[in-house]
């Protein structure tokens, strides 16, 4: 892509995110969301493959609908209450509409159908941006309006997201789709606790960004787009595959890795709120996700395939392992002992 265009798009992404995060007025929040949507579209369709164009169109339609619903919800609230403050959403129909709109933006069930297809049509780096950075503005709006959201709807969407994310991810053979369903599942965990302890949602979100980014960057280094390629990726970077296994298990939420921390704290908070059944249900549903993370770890590290790679030069990677991957992977694996410090910050 033209470097000037890339620079403008990257700056627009940062601008849109910053505008939304720092806004008090609904119009500014909506503006930031729209800037983000428009800036990511060329990045998704960069390769001009028919599937990439399809992914870009799907992303645009879904996000534009959600943004329109957000605007409609804020306008309805402004009509009844006379003010546009994000934290003062009080009109019940507006609250319901905003909950739905944010669910569409994030990809919560039952508005999740677009997410795996969009991720599958994008490159690995764009998929990483879609899973991490593009979720930051809607999560911020969720955080700011957490007291106004409809709790029943949110809980139902959260539980079904964890369930469907795990169920649909079971038989995926494309790594991007696996990570898409993993994202949907994690969104369920984040959403279930937003009413009771919004800061836990943010903690879960930040740790999710950390672990997912390291996985995407690792897969980008080894150019792993499907499971059979993952089998032979050890030939390109053996140590990276080992750390990939640990990062995947961290994403699954296994102790003593970093990913255990948000799950542990969320379950603890749910039990404090006397929602033990809910905590039990989402914990059991997470086992589905654990199954496919273990499957990815099995393919990448635990087994050796009987066949060699189809690639001409197995040991030559376009991008050697670099500093961001090493930092992100180290943090994704070994941050759990620092949990007392993290808890004081949140």
């Amino acid at each position: 892509m033209n470097p000037y265009a890339k620079l403008i798009l990257t700056l627009s992404l940062l601008l849109g995110t910053t505008i939304t995060i720092s806004s008090n007025h609904w119009m500014m929040a909506w503006t930031g969301l729209e800037i983000n949507t428009l800036a990511i579209i060329p990045l998704i369709s960069k390769s001009h493959h028919p599937r990439a164009i399809e992914a870009a169109i799907k992303y645009f339609l879904v996000q534009a609908t959600a943004s329109a619903l957000i605007l409609f919800s804020s306008m309805t609230n402004a009509w009844f209450t006379g003010q546009w403050d994000i934290t003062q959403l009080t009109n019940p129909p507006s609250c319901l509409l905003l909950t739905t709109a944010i669910a569409i933006k994030l990809g919560l069930t039952p508005f999740h159908f677009w997410f795996p297809e969009v991720l599958q049509g994008s490159s690995l780096i764009t998929a990483m941006l879609l899973s991490t950075m593009m979720k930051l503005p809607p999560t911020t709006i969720l955080f700011l309006t957490s007291h106004s959201l409809n709790p029943t709807l949110l809980t139902i969407m959260a539980i079904t997201s964890v369930a469907l994310g795990g169920w649909m991810g079971l038989n995926q053979t494309q790594t991007r789709k696996v990570l898409a369903f993993s994202s949907i599942s994690h969104l369920g965990w984040m959403t279930i606790i937003i009413i009771y302890n919004p800061k836990l949602t943010l903690l879960a979100f930040y740790l999710y960004i950390l672990i997912t980014s390291s996985i995407f960057l690792t897969m980008n280094t080894t150019k792993t787009l499907k499971l059979p390629t993952l089998l032979t990726s050890w030939t390109k970077a053996p140590m990276l595959n080992t750390t990939l296994m640990l990062t995947l298990l961290s994403l699954a939420g296994l102790p003593p890795l970093t990913g255990f921390l948000p799950k542990w704290l969320i379950i603890q908070e749910l039990i404090k709120q006397e929602m033990t059944t809910t905590a039990m249900i989402i914990s059991m549903l997470s086992l589905l996700g654990l199954f496919f993370y273990l499957r990815l770890a099995y393919c990448s590290t635990i087994t050796l395939p009987p066949n060699p790679s189809n690639k001409m030069k197995q040991w030559l990677t376009k991008k050697p392992t670099n500093t961001p991957i090493s930092i992100l992977t180290s943090l994704s694996i070994s941050l759990l002992p620092l949990s007392p410090m993290i808890l004081t910050i949140t």
Binding site: S47, H48, H49, P50, R51, I53, E54, I57, K58, E117, Q120, W167, L170, N171, Q172, T173, Q174, K226, L227, P228, L231, R295, C299, P305, P306, N307, P308, N310, K311, M312
Partner: protein, 303 residues
């Protein structure tokens, strides 16, 4: 506003009574007559006359609906069981170690019913195509006659094609399903042709209609001898075309969402043709390392 409504009202009745008024073409889409077409009543020579509308064919029998519901629920149950077993209904180890897979083979009429044949008759041409089981029910025979005579309708310039296309997979409750061929890199066919060249088409069924004419094609040259031949076509060789026109911007076919496979003959030679197909399968050729056979160049390079 009232004037417009009156005009439309009158035009509706005028349209019903006399079809050849001058106002008809302008108000075509506004008239709600189900039999008339939007702008003209011309029917192409090869197309069938319209009989009943789709909604008139609906059978609202309660007993039949119960049967259909039972069938669909049993299909859903099978799909759920397959989902629990692994990718494509097979265990993961089977999927990872798989190197060959037979997708279509022709041993019974049921196998033939999974395919649709068509020719230029639908645009008014005179080619003929038939599909039947071969000797001892061991192969399918696609045969017929190609006729390149152009239909005299004033708008068609070329004619003379016959094709056979697989029906798309349908899941429970009429949901679309797709083939996942991402574990393979070659198409493997056992055929016995008559020396005529065929075109193999892969359709990936895009979500949006503006890409519905996108097709990935490659050629299959048959020998014509009495011996069967096994043709291996790497997926890296397939090129992208749209409505028959090869595109400038080429991309490799993505194999995770394949809808149908088809064979077309259109070599501009009048006469009979015959193609016997034993099976159509997939192969993961470990020695094939090519990712895409065609280089793409910048169309407007900076000076």
């Amino acid at each position: 506003m009232a004037l417009a409504a009156t005009l439309l009202h009158n035009a509706y009745f005028c349209g019903r009574c006399c079809r050849y008024k001058a106002l008809q073409p302008f108000l075509g889409p506004l008239l709600s007559d189900p039999v008339s077409k939007a702008y003209s009543s011309y029917r192409r020579p090869g197309s069938q006359p319209e009989k009943k509308s789709t909604w008139q064919n609906v059978d609202l029998s309660f007993k039949k609906s119960i049967e259909v519901l039972k069938t669909q629920l049993s299909m859903l149950k099978e799909e759920t069981k397959d989902h629990l077993i692994g990718p494509g209904g097979q265990s993961l180890s089977h999927y990872l170690l798989e190197q060959t897979r037979v997708v279509w083979e022709f041993r019974s009429q049921e196998d033939l019913n999974k395919w649709i044949i068509s020719s230029d008759v639908e645009i008014g041409g005179k080619s003929e195509v038939y599909l039947k089981l071969g000797r001892n029910n061991q192969a399918a025979m696609l045969y017929g006659t190609l006729n390149t005579e152009v239909p005299r309708d004033g708008e068609t310039k070329y004619s003379g094609y016959c094709s056979m296309r697989a029906k798309p997979l349908v899941g429970s409750f009429a949901r679309k399903k797709y083939y996942d061929w991402s574990n393979f890199n070659c198409l493997y066919l056992r055929v016995r042709g008559d020396g005529r060249p065929w075109m193999v088409n892969i359709y990936t069924d895009p979500y949006f209609s503006h890409q519905k004419d996108d097709l990935y094609n490659y050629f299959m040259f048959t020998r014509g001898g009495p011996y069967w031949e096994e043709i291996k076509i790497p997926f890296s060789k397939f090129f992208l075309s749209s409505r028959g026109r090869v595109q400038d911007d080429q991309h490799p076919v993505w194999l995770d969402k394949i809808s149908t496979l088809g064979f077309t003959i259109g070599d501009k030679v009048n006469g009979p043709f015959q193609l016997e197909i034993d099976f159509i399968g997939l192969l993961n050729d470990r020695a094939h390392t090519e990712e895409f056979a065609y280089e793409t160049y910048e169309k407007n390079p900076p000076l």
